[in-house]
Symmetry: C2
């Protein structure tokens, strides 16, 4: 069991790629939660995760990277005050509060970066752990997209749009 | 008055850039309806409109380009069966049914390209003409994003997520 008091979250560095890739690969190839091309190459996936976003972070426990997340502007122009985030927890560290810790961290970081709200565009409804966690963390379900996600086992399933204003963070 | 029977919609070509840019510039600099960086340069804007999407079209009337739209995959991977579109009508041709004509055309094209549904991610609620048109064309409001768009005059206003399944198209 990972003691949350022992974990730290810090900005990702280029040399975290080796630690991030196995986590990212699992999520991409599995294709159950993120809307990312399932055949994306390692290079493109790492660019997408580490270079394209506004900021990327990793969570460490005793020197081991067990999670990663990014913050990005959800839409430019008139939408640029709203950010989007994506979180991955390593399989061996699931169910121990790391996603919650990263989401809390991301809300504070988002405020520092000047964002006023956070939006998740496509929360797959079969990913019930995520749905419940975001609800518990104060995200409102502001939309439900009928059959918007093609799940590898369940077929076309609904996805939620979830949003939280960061006023109180 | 433009006679809709006289208009044609065709794929955009590189040499349409000169006709497209004034329309695109107006919408971008105005910043009231599209979530695009208001200071975007001509080159970047034209790349975004003509090269990044899956397909881009123009509407002509007597050889004059009076409208343009794009079709793009809204999310890759598990979301790749849903497309997104954006439409612009030249100021001198507004209120004559061109947006409707382009949206009808886009639904048929989207089907040809293999998409099953069409989603608009950020329909600004102050853009009432667009909201009513999409409703009239069978798009459902599947979400309402509180204060998700920073309007140049009205400040933070709500935006809608609208979606239509293309089964019957």
């Amino acid at each position: 069991m990972t003691d949350l008091a022992d974990i730290s979250v810090r900005p990702a560095r280029a040399d975290d790629a080796e630690s991030i890739w196995p986590m990212l690969r699992g999520v991409i190839r599995g294709g159950e939660s993120f809307a990312i091309d399932r055949g994306l190459t390692r290079d493109r996936a790492l660019k997408m995760w580490l270079e394209a976003p506004r900021a990327t972070y990793v969570t460490e426990h005793q020197g081991e990277v067990l999670g990663t997340y990014y913050i990005n502007t959800n839409h430019p122009g008139g939408g640029a005050h709203v950010c989007n985030c994506g979180y991955i927890v390593a399989p061996q560290a699931r169910g121990q509060g790391l996603a919650r810790a990263m989401c809390l961290h991301s809300q504070a970081e988002a405020r520092k970066l000047g964002y006023l709200a956070m939006q998740f565009n496509l929360v797959v409804t079969t990913n019930t752990a995520a749905v419940h966690l975001w609800q518990d963390m104060g995200f409102d379900t502001v939309g439900r997209l009928p059959r918007a996600f093609d799940h590898p086992r369940d077929g076309l399933v609904d996805a939620l749009v979830m949003m939280k204003w960061l006023d109180g963070v």
